[in-house]
């Protein structure tokens, strides 16, 4: 038994009271210290926290940022988002591989540098991007990739890779990132200035019921994608039995192509904190948790300082804003790289220190959420909107936007356009108008709402962006006429296969079947019947999956089957015979030929297809 490891694990666990509920922090820290959570470390943690070994092993195997194998001192995670791919991520991967002499997914023999792919890290507007440990590196090129490796080889210090700081708080001493905010359009809700405690003071002058009434009157709906009315969610949670309640902020912005929460966290963290405190007041909670995705770890120290400053100003902690008896504080819970944790019940699982598996609903988090207590889970942007509703009034907010969708929406725009970045627009804006602002008028296709949303064609560009038409949690990816729609679909399916938690069969197996069939069509071996198969399979996966991931993963395929039918039709085998076009006997026999050293007697040549 490695004594150093034993001692360190004991210390780390004891510092958290040997509480299995803090498993995420424990394993993250062990990972950081030993560059991996070895089988031995898993045993030690399990013994220390008095939980079965499998509970710890399950967590370690679930999250992308954790590993049993020891990783390099520096881990380079190259973003594998579809946008990054369009802008040359594969060439950059080759440059890294060549320079380091290892493949993606490997570690250099000296144990110094690990190279791997990672899903969208919220930097699509400055793609291609990579995370080097916690340090985001943007606008990569093959040249820069080579320089990056040379610098790492020399100094082994990722922070030296930042040569010029980004705009706004990205240049803050506690952030120090080369990330750009790229805020292209400032609106009245999210990016307007806010004096300290202005929204909270107004809220605390009212009763909690009145606060909820205002949020309902403002017709505020969730900004994360599902669009559930926020006031009703708060009301349910307030009404739920239990003295201990929680406010959870979902900052696990994982939907590919979304990065607006990163900009809010960088520029408007106070507005977010006010919104969370107001929610706490409304539902009767004294604890808030900001679940921050591991990719945004570079913002952590800055956010901690914001929270500390607010505590010192009496805006968090005991008797907040002088309101006797209202105590509310916020802590940050780090994620460890899992798309599914953006789903609220998975996020709760993750906060509880387990695998980020979704939970069955009902009971809804409003009744039984974090640690079995009534819990409100809202998106970063939703809390900001709520704070603004209380500051400016429900009527003011409700008159913004369109009848069914009040307020403004942050759009994260990336892809084939001149001005990628974050836009705060009023709901109801037409997609053409958005494309004009972003300089993406030539778009062939727009992915609205990320891979779990839909892919629309020019026929839909006149439709408005709102909950009832083109709904989006913020992601808008623009694809020009030179792009292959089926390649995008296949890439999204790869993403869902990777991110499926594997709990339910329709999602775990179905996504693989969908991807195989789309790939078959792309390779020119698909037949007309395959389209019907895809349609049926997609509907089955949507209907039978347990959580939002499988319920939405067929969307890119299903929406393109309708809107980009010719992309499929034009690749189909024209004269389908009685045999399956996709079955290739020579490929199926290749291994046998190699092992046995002879060709098939029955299928000697190319004559097998008649």
């Amino acid at each position: 038994m490695d004594e150093t490891l034993k001692k360190a694990v004991e210390e780390i666990c004891q510092a958290r009271g040997n509480d299995a509920g803090a498993m995420m922090d424990i394993v993250r820290q062990v990972q950081a210290r030993f560059r991996g959570v070895s089988e031995e470390a898993i045993d030690l943690i399990a013994a220390q926290c008095h939980v079965p070994r499998v509970d710890v092993a399950g967590v370690v195997s679930f999250y992308a940022f954790l590993s049993t194998a020891s990783k390099g001192q520096v881990v380079i995670r190259l973003c594998d988002d579809v946008i990054d791919r369009m802008y040359g991520a594969v060439a950059i991967a080759e440059a890294f591989s060549h320079e380091l002499g290892i493949e993606m997914g490997q570690t250099t023999p000296d144990g110094k540098i690990t190279l791997e792919w990672a899903p969208c890290m919220g930097l699509s507007d400055q793609a291609p991007a990579a995370l080097v440990n916690d340090v985001p590196v943007t606008h990569l090129s093959t040249d820069k990739a080579r320089h990056l490796i040379q610098s790492l080889r020399r100094y082994m210090d990722p922070s030296r890779l930042v040569e010029r700081l980004g705009d706004g708080n990205n240049a803050h001493e506690l952030v120090g990132a080369m990330v750009m905010n790229n805020v292209r359009k400032v609106g009245p809700v999210i990016f307007a200035p806010l004096g300290p405690g202005e929204a909270m003071k107004k809220a605390l002058a009212m009763s909690p019921a009145e606060v909820i009434r205002d949020v309902k009157t403002a017709r505020l709906r969730g900004r994360g994608g599902a669009g559930f009315p926020t006031g009703i969610k708060w009301e349910f949670t307030r009404a739920a039995a239990g003295s201990k309640k929680y406010v959870l902020c979902n900052a696990d912005e994982g939907e590919p192509g979304t990065f607006k929460d990163r900009v809010i966290l960088t520029e408007q963290p106070d507005l977010l904190a006010e919104g969370m405190a107001i929610a706490g007041y409304a539902i009767g909670a004294d604890e808030g948790i900001l679940y921050l995705r591991a990719e945004y770890a570079y913002l952590r120290r800055f956010l901690e300082q914001v929270l500390q400053r607010r505590r010192e100003a009496g805006l968090l902690g005991k008797d907040v804003c002088g309101k006797k008896g209202f105590n509310f504080d916020i802590r940050i819970q780090m994620g460890a790289g899992a798309y599914i944790c953006g789903e609220e019940t998975s996020l709760i699982s993750s906060c509880e220190g387990t695998r980020g598996d979704p939970k069955n609903r009902p009971p809804f988090p409003a009744q039984k959420g974090y640690r079995g207590c009534p819990t409100v889970v809202n998106n970063v942007e939703t809390f900001c909107c709520a704070a603004r509703v209380l500051e400016k009034g429900a009527g003011w907010f409700a008159q913004l936007g369109s009848p069914g969708s009040a307020g403004t929406k942050l759009l994260s725009i990336s892809g084939d356009c001149l001005r990628p970045g974050v836009y705060e627009v009023e709901f109801g804006i037409k997609l053409t108008e958005v494309l004009r602002m972003a300089g993406g008028q030539e778009a062939q296709a727009v992915v609205v709402g990320g891979p779990s949303g839909q892919i629309v064609s020019a026929a839909d560009f006149e439709r408005p962006i709102c909950y009832d038409h083109l709904a989006t949690g913020g992601s808008l990816m623009i694809f020009g006429p030179q792009r292959d729609v089926l390649e995008i679909v296949e890439h999204f399916l790869d993403f869902f296969i990777e991110e499926s938690c594997g709990y339910c069969t329709p999602c775990r197996v179905g996504n693989v079947l969908m991807k195989e069939r789309v790939a078959r069509i792309r390779s020119g071996k698909g037949e007309l019947a395959d389209l019907g198969y895809l349609e049926r399979l997609g509907q089955t996966i949507k209907t039978a999956s347990r959580c939002g991931l499988g319920q939405t993963s067929p969307n890119p395929m299903l929406s393109t089957l309708r809107k980009f039918r010719s992309a499929y039709d034009s690749r189909l085998v024209q004269q389908a015979g009685p045999f399956q076009s996709a079955f290739d006997i020579q490929a199926a026999l290749a291994q046998a030929k190699e092992v046995q050293g002879r060709a098939s007697v029955l299928f000697s040549g190319e004559r097998h297809h008649r």
């Binding site: 009685p578 045999f579 079955f583 291994q591 190699e594 092992v595 299928f603």
Partner: protein, 232 residues
């Protein structure tokens, strides 16, 4: 995969792409190149069977265990009725090795493990109007497909060279040209040729098989009671 041709509206658990009543007609569409027009099955009634040529059935066991064929034999005395209704062509039942005429129905047991299986299956597709994948090996690969996670080289190595019970001092590998070549993995039938119906079960019981065959012969919707399609 079982969902390959699954149709929730299918009359019963012969998971079918099309309704049985239309089978002969639709079959032409699905496999037009191999299916010249034959006598419609609906015309064959038991009374008329003596006068008219009987529809022909072919069967084959590929990567299976012959269990589905045993199940077919399990129809007991109904086999006499079946023989009145149909004539067997290529089949282990009468030991006819090659197709001597076009068949109405081909019953497939087992998936494709070797090039010979593929050849056999393609012959069936060429010579039969309707192909039915019978049993779990034909529909999903079944037990033989358990090797699909292992490379062929590893399989052969374990079987003939380095397995714990292997005695093979000359390190020989069976390699006579008579022996079929093994495919990279076991394929369910519908991945190799187009299949009209899938009949699950391991094996499908005699009653299930009999009900399915007679329904096909008379062009009737297949009604399988719950007991016949319950497999747990």
């Amino acid at each position: 995969m079982p969902g390959e041709k699954a149709n929730p509206k299918a009359p019963a658990n012969v998971t079918a792409g099309k309704k049985p009543a239309k089978a002969a007609g639709v079959q032409k569409k699905a496999a037009s190149a191999a299916a010249p027009k034959t006598q419609p099955l609906e015309m064959v009634q038991p009374a008329a069977a003596a006068a008219k040529p009987k529809p022909k059935i072919a069967t084959v066991s590929m990567a299976g265990c012959f269990g589905c064929h045993m199940s077919l034999l399990d129809i007991d005395e109904r086999i006499l009725k079946l023989v009145e209704l149909v004539e067997f062509n290529k089949s282990p039942i009468d030991d006819i090795k090659v197709f001597t005429s076009r068949c109405a129905i081909g019953l497939l047991e087992g998936g494709c493990c070797t090039d010979e299986n593929v050849h056999n299956l393609q012959e069936f597709r060429k010579h039969c109007d309707i192909l039915v994948s019978v049993g779990d090996c034909a529909t999903m690969g079944g037990v033989p497909a358990m090797r699909n996670m292992i490379t062929l080289k590893e399989c052969l190595d374990e079987a003939y060279q380095n397995g714990p019970t292997v005695y093979n001092p000359k390190n020989l590998m069976p390699n006579d040209p008579e022996i079929p070549l093994i495919l990279d993995r076991v394929y369910p039938c519908h991945e190799v040729v187009k299949i009209d119906y899938l009949l699950p079960g391991c094996p499908p019981s005699a009653d299930t098989l009999y009900a399915a065959i007679t329904a096909l012969l008379f062009g009737e919707p297949l009604k399988l009671p719950y007991e016949l399609i319950k497999y747990d």
